[in-house]
């Protein structure tokens, strides 16, 4: 191979690599959440499992009729999860130490640095400055990586739709309420004031005050204050969070931190590999160029 050909080859290789990988490298800095992010404090000690939040959500988000009516408590026999038909569900957990069985409402926790958002390759998710994690179904390809990535197993997929399936999850009533400063439907309807809507930073103070005032009633931890980089929805409970189905092994780092190591490696490969392998090529074929390889290419050229 002639040197000119070789250089040409290198150029093309470099160009192809650059084309193929546009600006992957802008690494994701850490993000603590928008300063005026709203949130909801869920005081599970107050929840009685009336399921009125489920009903309100269903109405507000215009979801289909539920399989089981909202006043039926038989649903507590098993653990449910969010689906395309229900953006929020209440589950009952086992009672401990003679206390009554705790309930917990489950919905999207609207992370400060959402795993779904960072895993989406078409950027269908947006974290709004009000704190909601919303979703654009118009560009969703349906790879469902967000469902794999979500540490809380929240996003559901409308599998039943053949031609326009999209991800379905709680959007904090963003379009109808949050945008206008109003609390989401579930918070408004809660008869026990188990849900409190407000600025996230105020809610953390409020939670700590409640724990301080009645230390017997609460387990000393606000779940969501630090977990996975912080979430807009925060939980108070009388028992450790894992007793009400909240995973305490998730750590305080957002999901994207696990991925950064790989993302940081990408530009290195992009820049080092072409030079490295072109160099190896030069070394490996240096002496053979006029022997082996030329014979070979002459032979092949002869075939035309």
């Amino acid at each position: 191979m002639k040197r000119r050909d070789f250089l040409k080859g290198c150029l093309i290789g470099g160009a192809a690599a650059t084309l193929g990988t546009t600006s992957k490298s802008w690494a994701v800095g850490s993000f603590e959440g928008y300063p005026d992010s709203m949130g909801v404090l869920v005081d599970t000690t107050r929840c009685i499992g009336c399921r009125s939040c489920e009903a309100a959500c269903n109405k507000e988000q215009k979801l289909p009729e539920p399989d089981v009516p909202f006043d039926d408590t038989s649903v507590f026999e098993e653990k449910r999860r969010t689906t395309e038909k229900a953006y929020t569900v209440v589950n009952r957990y086992e009672a401990t130490d003679g206390k009554k069985a705790p309930f917990r409402k489950m919905q999207c926790n609207h992370c400060n640095e959402p795993a779904c958002l960072t895993s989406c390759f078409v950027n269908a998710y947006t974290k709004t400055k009000e704190g909601a994690v919303i979703y654009d179904g118009k560009i969703c390809v349906g790879c469902r990586t967000c469902m794999v990535a979500c540490p809380f197993n929240i996003p559901a997929y409308s599998y039943s739709s053949a031609f326009a399936p999209v991800v379905k999850k709680c959007i904090f009533c963003y379009h109808t309420r949050l945008k206008f400063g109003k609390p989401p439907a579930c918070v408004e309807i809660c008869p026990r004031e188990a849900l409190t809507f407000g600025l996230r930073r105020d809610l953390i103070k409020m939670g700590n005050e409640r724990i301080k005032e009645t230390p017997d009633k609460y387990f000393d931890h606000i779940y969501g204050e630090k977990e996975l980089g912080g979430t807009s929805w925060l939980y108070l409970s009388s028992v450790p969070a894992e007793k009400i189905g909240l995973d305490e092994t998730v750590g305080n780092e957002p999901i994207i931190s696990n991925v950064k190591e790989f993302l940081g490696m990408v530009p290195m490969v992009l820049t080092i590999w072409p030079a490295l392998f072109s160099g190896i090529h030069l070394l490996a074929t240096r002496n053979k160029d006029h022997g082996d390889h030329d014979n070979h290419s002459a032979q092949e050229d002869g075939k035309k």
């Binding site: 070789f6 395309e84 969703c140 469902m147 991925v259 790989f262 590999w273 390889h293």
Partner: protein, 460 residues
């Protein structure tokens, strides 16, 4: 096919028939056989009947998936969003397709011309593996027609999948270009061959980059789910290295496996160069795989030690992990070490097959079998999902075979000038015995012109 050759059928290896006339495209498509004979050999092959049954069941179900939606073919699980299509099809097939960049690199960059006879098989294996991984992806995506969106409409550059999408798309085009040389030779398009040859080195180097990144990226995809992938299969720091390193023996062993199957079923398509060098090349590839496996095993152990996960070995998952490592890494390594030294080809080929199964199992474990290990239930795939997977895999084998039968992958295309002289003498010798008629009278012609000369001298 073997019988037909014994009866005097000529294998297409050049543009011209023995009589000096050019093969037409149709004749090339029918392997140089008359139509009735071509259909006859296809019908005699029992594998074709198996494929026919699979397609008869599978194609309507694939069609149904696009008409009735994913819920018709899968359990529509929100907890297991990636089912068999991705676990089996995408994650399983891509590591076995790394052969393209490895053999490309070995031959074009490292100057290992001794591996050249199998380079094209490596490239083709890569191309088809990726192509069908994309087919599986299309089956799985909710709205497959939006697949180009990340390229043109909406960018999520912080997402690993964005990287995968771009790299697979770019790499697929690179591989099509690399394999197209064989196609151009076959249809007779020398300008194309020349053009591709000029950019071969560039393409090979970009192939290395793209492969490193997206083989790794497929692993990095699972770092989004640290709580869901079982700790033994998960490592935040090493996941991408695991996937990348294991793809190296995976791809090499896949080439050994495919060449073994071809040796058993389509040896008529091999030329002398390939037949003579196959064992030697298999040993070279096996040596490469051994090194890859040793590296892989070391990194696996380091990652277990790094996060101190030894305790998990006492659980059921731990034993399953050991099974996977035994099948895919430790046993083949031992067998390779034993057999390479003694040149026992049977054992080498068997352990290559074990590596293929082991790497495949690793991906299936990571993506599906041990996924969501904290959840109380395991997802058993819907039967239609299984049928679709089997069908797509059968189509993959059919396309693979279709190409191997025709394009110069196992043999070298003979240029016209080289043959011209031979034809003159040949047609003089067999004036009354042209290729297709008087089959019984015509002398047995060998597989390739190399043989032609040999058989000529014997018949004369």
């Amino acid at each position: 096919m073997k019988k037909l050759i014994d009866n005097g059928a000529i294998v297409v290896t050049s543009h011209q028939k023995a009589s000096g006339k050019d093969w037409t495209l149709m004749e090339k498509l029918f392997l140089g056989l008359p139509f009735s004979q071509y259909i006859g050999q296809a019908l005699r092959n029992p594998l074709n009947w198996f494929f026919a049954v699979v397609l008869a069941v599978g194609l309507p179900i694939i069609l149904g998936r696009f008409i009735f939606g994913l819920s018709w073919v899968t359990h529509s699980s929100n907890d297991y969003p990636w089912g068999l299509f991705l676990g089996f099809g995408l994650f399983g097939m891509v590591p076995l397709s790394s052969s393209g960049f490895q053999l490309g690199t070995a031959c074009e960059v490292f100057g290992r011309h001794d591996l050249e006879p199998i380079e094209r098989l490596g490239l083709l294996n890569g191309l088809l593996g990726y192509f069908f991984a994309v087919i599986f992806l299309l089956c799985d995506l909710g709205q497959p027609w939006r697949l180009p969106y990340p390229m043109v409409l909406a960018y999520g550059p912080a997402a690993v999948l964005f990287l995968v999408a771009w790299h697979v798309a770019t790499y697929l085009s690179v591989q099509i270009a690399e394999v197209s040389v064989s196609f151009f030779e076959w249809i007779g398009f020398p300008i194309g061959i020349k053009a591709i040859r000029k950019i071969t080195l560039g393409m090979t180097v970009s192939g290395i980059i793209l492969s490193t990144l997206h083989q790794g990226a497929l692993g990095a995809l699972f770092t989004y789910a640290p709580g869901k992938v079982h700790p033994l299969w998960y490592s935040s720091s090493f996941q991408w290295i695991h996937f990348f390193v294991s793809s190296i023996p995976g791809g090499l062993c896949m080439v050994i496996t495919v060449s073994t199957i071809a040796k058993k079923t389509m040896a008529w398509r091999f030329d002398k160069r390939f037949v003579d060098s196959l064992d030697r090349i298999t040993i070279s590839l096996a040596k490469g795989s051994s090194m890859g496996l040793a590296t892989y095993l070391t990194i696996k152990l380091i990652s277990i030690a790094h996060d101190n996960k030894w305790g998990y070995f006492l659980t059921g998952y731990g034993q399953w992990y050991l099974v996977e490592i035994m099948i895919g890494v430790i046993v083949p390594m031992a067998l390779f070490a034993y057999a390479i030294r003694r040149k026992q080809m049977g054992i080498i080929r068997l352990s290559a097959f074990m590596v293929v199964i082991g790497i495949f199992l690793n991906r299936l474990n990571t993506a599906y079998i041990t996924f969501n290990w904290k959840l109380s239930y395991r997802e058993i795939p819907h039967w239609r999902e299984v049928v679709i997977c089997v069908t797509v895999y059968c189509i993959y084998i059919m396309v693979y075979r279709f190409i191997l039968y025709r394009l110069p992958i196992f043999y070298q295309w003979q240029a016209q000038e080289e043959l011209a002289t031979e034809h003159v003498t040949e047609s003089a010798a067999h004036k009354h015995a042209p290729a297709h008629d008087n089959r019984d009278k015509s002398t047995v012609l060998g597989l390739t012109p190399e043989y032609v000369t040999e058989s000529k001298s014997t018949s004369l």
